[in-house]
Structure formats: C-alpha cells, structure tokens
Symmetry: C2
Subunit: 480 residues, 2 copies
C-alpha cells in the first residue's frame, strides 16, 4: 500500500464509517484453531497428495494449451479427480476466450550463414504466409531502444530484441522479459515490422528450449508473426549480427487465431460447517503452455491448492467457512479464467474471507505478505507464527496480491495474501519444453501444501474477517 | 596391454629380432626441445586460437551432418580457414560412405494418454511408412533383458529399452548407453520388432533434448525405425507403462538411406624441416550430428589440433618432423573418415611418429596414456613432465588408443597416446541439440591446445621413434 493512498482510503473510510477501519473488534484466530492448524501443517509436510496430483495431471493429460483437446481432457481429468478426492462440491463455470492454435514453427538464418534456429511462436502471434516469411533483421538491445528507433529503420524488417534475464529468488527480471515479449511485438507491428523475435524471457543460457508466452496482440488484424529464440540460438544470432553483414531470416510459423472457445474454471469445495457462504479461495491455473507438460506452470499450483483443501477436508470436522479450490482456465493468454471469475463473483466479494493463488512454480514458500484490513493484521501475525517454522517470513510492509487469476478478485476488493515461492530456477523452465515433472521436488511441494492448508484453515476459523469489501484494496500497490 | 598378449608379442619379437624390442638406443627428447616445448605450452595456455576456430566453425557453418549441404560448407570453411592460418600444405582426401538423411521426426503416445514425446531418429534408422507407424510398446530395463526375451513377445511391437547413464569424469557408462543404441535396434529387428526406442544415452535428466547417434544397421533392408526419447520423455513413458495398461505409440520418422556420398578428410600440415615424411598426426572430426552445432562433438577437437599446429608453425623454426592436422569426415556414422584414412595410409604406418585425436568434448585433459615401444617410455615421461604442471597425470599402466578416427591408424600399428578429457558433463550435451558453443570454456580449451602443442612438438623433435610399425600394438587393449 502506498502511504499517500493509505491516507486517502483512511479518510474516505472515516467519512463513510467504513467497517474495515472502524473501532470494531480485531479479527483473531481461536487458540484451538491455531493448535489444529499446527497439527495440520505437520501432517501436510509429510503428505504426498500434492505430488501425486501433479504427477497424475502431467502424466495422464500432459500439456494443456488453452482451448486444445488436451485442455478439455485436463478439465475432465480434474473434475474426476476432485470427485475422487471426495470434495463436497465439484462444479465448473464457463470461460469464453479467443482460440489460438500452434501447428508448427520453424526459423532459419538464410544469409549469411544458413542454419536452423530453435524458435517458438508467441501466443496470439500471427502465422506467416504459406511458405514462410523472409526478411532482413534489425536488432535492438532493449525494448526502449526499439521505442526510440526511427520507424523507417524497422519497416519491412524482422525486429529482434535481446533482453537478458538473470536468475533471482523473486524473479524480478521477468518484468523486463515479459514486457519485451508482450509489448515488443505490438510496438514493432505499429512501426511497420513484418515479424518480431526476442531472446527468450528465460534464464538458462545453455538450453535450446525457447520460451513461449503471450503477446499483447488482441485482434488478429493487428498481429504480426512473433516468436522467441532459445538463449543459445539468440547468442548464435547475436554472434552473426556482430559481424556486421546483413542477416536474413526465414520465419515459418503455422499458428493463429481460430474463433472463440468456451472453456471452464473447475471448482471444488469443502463446505463450511458454520458459514458455508463465506469462502477462503485458493487455486492455480489448469491450462499450461503446450511445449512442456505444465508441471511448474501451473500443475503445481492446482495440486498445492487441491491437496491443501483435501487435508482440511480430512480433519475430524469441516471448517467453519468454505474452502474453495479454483483451477482456472486460460491464465496463460491473459487471465481469462481469473477475469471471468472476478466478473461473475465481484458482487459477492465481501463473502471472500481471504484468498491467494499459487502460480510461481513449486519452490518453497519463503515470504508471506498480505493486503487485509488493519484489524486483521493480528490474525495474519497468528498465521505467520505457525508457518514461520517451515521457512516462511512475514513481511508486513508489502501488499499481498492474491496471485495471477485471483489478483482479479483482489482488484474487486478481496483480502489477499501473497505466498512467495523461491523462483530461482523458475525462469529456466517457464513456458518452455523443460517444464516437466522432474522439476518438482516433492518435499518442497509438500511445504507449499502445508502453508496453504495452514493459512486456509486458520482464515476459515477466524473470529472476524480480513476486510474484503468492494474496492477495499484499491491502490495497495500489489499489481502496480 | 593384456599380460598374456604382451608375452606373446615379446616372444614373437625376439624370434624376429623385432626392432621395437631390440637393445636399440632409447628415444629421447633433446633438452633444447623440452625448453622450447615449455615455452610453447605457456604461450598456448594464454592463446585464443582454438576458441576462435570453434566459434567460427559452429557459428558460420553450424551443424554439419555427414553428407549434408552444411557438411560440404564445413569442408570449404575448413579448407579456407587452414589456408588463412598459413599452413604449409592444405589438401583433402576422399571418403565414400552411405548417405543418410533426417527430414522430420515425431513420436506420440496414442493410448492410454495421448501426448507428444520428444524423439530423435538414430543414424541409419529406417523411416516409417507415410503417415507413421502405430504399435504397442514392449519395454525392457536393459539390453540383456531384451536379449533374453522370447521373440514372440517382441514381434510386431515397438521395443523400448531404458538404460540409465550417470555422469562420470571418464564417461564409462557410455559403453552401456551406446550398446543399447547401436546393438539394440539390430537385435530388436532380428526379433521381429517393428520399431525401437531407447531412453537416450545421456546424463541430463532435466533436458527435453533427445540424444541421437548411429545404430548398428548397415543395410537399408535390415533397418527398422529407431529413435531415442529425451530423459524426461523416457520418465514420462515409464510412468505410463508402470500403470500396466497397454501403451500404444505412433512413430513418424521421415529419415533414411539415400545412396552414396563422397566426402572429404581435410588435412593441413606444418612441414618438417629435417624429416618431412615423418608425421605427428593430430586431429578431430569435422562432421557433427545435426541437432546441435557440433561444438563439443567435435568442433572442439578440430580446433584443438588446428590451434596446436598453428602455434608450432608460429615458432621461429619449423619442427624436425611434419605436424599433420586431420579433420576427419563422417566419424559419427562409423569412423568412415578414420577408416578411409587408415586404409590409404597403412602402408606408411612406420612413418607416423606418434598420433592422437581429440573427440571427447572440451573439458580439461587430466590423464595421458600411451601405446609406444618400451624404448620410448622415457620420451613419454619427458612429455609427461612438461604437461604435469597444467593438470595432466601420466598413467603408464594403460594403453593409448589414439582417439576415435586415429584408433584406426593405431590398429594398423601407429604409436598413439590417449589424452583423456574431463567428460563429466559431456553426455549431458553429446549428440543432442544442446551441443552448442556456450558449452565450451575457452580456458579449458586452451589447456587442451597446450597439451596437444606440447606433445606434438616434443614428438616431432625426438631423437628416435615411438615404435610405429605394421601391427606393432595389436592386442594392447586400447579398444577392447
């Protein structure tokens, strides 16, 4: 939360007698619930449900590109799995989005040194004409350099932008990498480029696996062919460019928009015993890119949420409030599942006790932050105390954003956590063919499940709420 | 050398007054040459010629599959480069071999869980019929288990063999891995299998890069479609197989034999000042598999030999004997260049002072072994003393085999070294798409160049020979 905005919100609340900031009773978690959560945490740390879930999903379904036949099988698999896990309710909600297909993709240096390049098309890229597109390359070190360029130098060319990301625990270089991937193609198209390539937004310099991901194109008529080169291929192209001769590339991307698809968010619930209409929302996204099997992005996220809810369901008594697991549709091409969910449920936002989504791999959670009302900070500190022994530090000075799809509910006013995972190697595998089950450490995954189970149970048992209300957290800085 | 064979050879020599074992003067290296070699070593350690060579070859030519247009460009590039480096002679020698082409390759699990698998066809594999080949899988843990199987269980099936290799400094698991790749398909074909897949002969469990390599098929009519799965894909298939349901795979390999090709060994020489017809032979192979750019296999080998010879050429005086650099054609599909070379030059084997080839990547050399006459052991020890400070230990108890192609000249009787590189990560990248320039550490490459330059110069300056003679080293155990 930004100081200036906090004061502004506080002033508005005082004027309107806003309940979140009134002198009401602070939210607390009863001692008995803290005790039960501690036992739940320890059980979860030794439990394999999450790993079995993600192993099953990625093995029996595999890659799940939004709108593909495999995506549909993924929905069916998850519905069946949620039912087999014994949840109280299992249902789906429709999510409509543009269908985009990848059929084949090739790139090659034509001159001066003919050779193939490992490329992948980006989401919402246009296809090339049949037989491919051949053009000279104009290269830029950064997106800013492209922005500053004279459009005449770009017109008719394939633009290449080389952004270098480094490994980091919080993966912050992805801000720059994803901007180069999403905004770069749109900018290049506006400047008259006929194609766009970037050095993949990834961090493994030794792997020939290009990283896909969505562009900012929203209409087929605005899109140009856009792809990413693997990092060794980007190095290769850069070595060739460095010689100063004109470099010609042929792109052959058989991809593109194909009408509209109706997918589904898949939802499972442990129904609350006392306040069934009040909901702790947790989840991940069920779709994945098609190059890997979507293990760390985001089979792990769905598995963490599902396993946490299952462990809560297996307790002697149902929790006071409902635990809702949401496996979102088509996060990858623009939070389609999350936005549809928020649209449909915004009117009930005050019923969302607390929520967050897991979508940053399967590394251990090391930090919790929260966007809650001041009167619920004590309850957050109670949660922090239970998860501190399993490696999670609470930072009270940062907002909690709710994760990728649930950020949309947070934007509507849902109180939210961020449970930050160790993403040091996340961008080695993110959106590329190497996103497979072997990247998940079952023990690290169990720690995630333990954190989710603990917080979700404690929030469900709290005396009081965390401040969810329409627009309650506007300007908290979570997604600036 | 095996003890029994050693006695046998000795007995034969005594009877025939074999010069190698007679009481002739021991071979030694003059003090002045040792001094010059020490300075040469130090210069080479700080020299970048080798790295520049392999960077140029892999960037300006890229992959060089034997018989491909790129292979031809590789020959032209190397001839031009050798000339630009100022060697005294640059020439080529013809090498004829069956042409095998890779056009496209796909594999997928059809049932029970449809999904693509990352596959690469193996050298000399047959293509599948148009539209692909679909069959059930029968799996074996080892090649021995396949050997022991009832052919009735294999007939009409796709055989899958899962051999697990581990990283090792000397890469000895490759014996098992390459047997599964070369002998497995031949055995499976004889048993009536319609296709063959193996878990790649590689050591990076996290990379979706299947490892290609040659099979033992020698005639198109004996070949069946054969491929390798990446290790994560092999894991995936094994998880599916473990469930016990029938597993159906579709293989679509558009590959195959296509007549005969005439390639070239590319040769450069620093002509000896005193004994130009006596030759120290060093080299690597110029062809590579087509998935990577052939940096560690074996652009590095050619670069090491070429740079070593260049450094010797740049000395104030030409060496006493000739230094010959051989960039062999088509090593990958069965030592075609090496065998052609040995056939052509066997009659002159006694003129080959000493030789060895670099073909195990670009890691530092840590061990030297030698197959030389007893009277040349002192000279080998002199060489060992000069290269010991840069990390090479001399093991007098093992034979020296001469490397891959030059093993064929050693088999004819050429005295040979083995200069063993650190291959700990070699089989992470060997024969797969990740064999690219970034895998080469310029400093480690320079150490290789230093070792080659040092030994080649000292051998060229030796008083006496190392025992090369027709069949002089038969049964030394180098290639048992």
């Amino acid at each position: 939360m930004r100081p200036a905005l906090r004061l502004h919100a506080l002033a508005a609340c005082i004027a309107l007698a806003c309940p979140a900031f009134a002198a009401e009773k602070a939210t607390t978690i009863p001692a008995k619930a803290v005790e039960a959560a501690t036992a739940l945490r320890d059980k979860a740390m030794a439990d394999n449900t999450g790993y079995e879930f993600v192993s099953g999903l990625t093995t029996e379904v595999g890659p799940r590109l939004a709108g593909s036949a495999a995506d549909k099988r993924g929905v069916e698999w998850t519905v069946a799995k949620f039912k087999a896990m014994g949840f109280d309710k299992v249902y789906t909600e429709k999510v409509s989005y543009p269908l985009w297909e990848r059929r084949s993709e090739h790139a090659a240096i034509v001159a001066p040194y003919p050779q193939n390049l490992f490329v992948t098309a980006l989401g919402y890229s246009a296809g090339t004409p049949a037989g491919g597109l051949t053009a000279d390359v104009v290269a830029f070190d950064t997106l800013d350099a492209l922005k500053a360029a004279d459009p005449a130098t770009v017109k008719g060319k394939i633009v290449y932008v080389s952004t270098h990301m480094q490994q980091q625990k919080d993966g912050h270089d992805y801000g720059m990498g994803s901007a180069t991937r999403t905004r770069g193609p749109v900018l290049a198209a506006k400047m008259g480029a006929v194609g766009y390539l970037l050095r993949s937004a990834g961090t493994d310099p030794h792997s020939r696996t290009p990283h896909t991901g969505v562009t900012g194109f929203t209409k087929p008529e605005d899109a140009i062919p856009a792809g990413a080169l693997s990092l060794p291929d980007a190095d290769q192209l850069e070595r060739v460019l460095k010689e100063g001769k004109p470099v010609t590339i042929k792109l052959d991307l058989d991809v593109g928009f194909k009408g509209t698809y109706e997918g589904e968010n898949v939802i499972a619930e442990v129904t609350g015993r006392k306040k069934p209409n009040e909901v702790v929302a947790i989840g991940g996204h069920l779709d994945s890119w098609d190059l890997g099997t979507g293990a760390i992005d985001d089979g792990a996220g769905v598995a963490i949420a599902a396993a946490a809810a299952k462990l809560i369901k297996d307790m002697p008594l149902r929790p006071d409030r409902t635990i809702r697991v949401i496996a979102f549709a088509n996060e990858e091409m623009g939070l389609w599942g999350g936005r549809a969910y928020a649209e449909a449920h915004a009117k009930d936002v005050a019923k969302f006790q607390l929520g967050t989504e897991s979508d940053f791999g399967a590394g251990r959670i090391w930090r919790m932050t929260a966007s809650v009302k001041p009167g619920a900070r004590g309850a957050i500190e109670q949660i922090a105390k239970v998860i501190e022994p399993i490696g999670v530090a609470y930072d009270p000075n940062k907002p909690g954003g709710g994760g990728s799809d649930l950020s949309q509910m947070h934007a509507k006013g849902m109180a939210a956590l961020s449970l930050t995972q160790d993403g040091t190697d996340y961008f080695d595998y993110h959106h590329n063919a190497n996103d497979t089950l072997d990247k998940i450490d079952p023990k690290a995954l169990a720690q995630n499940v333990a954190v989710y189970a603990t917080f979700a149970y404690m929030a469900a048992q709290a005396d009081g709420n965390f401040g969810s209300a329409p627009d309650a957290f506007k300007g908290d800085g979570a997604h600036d």
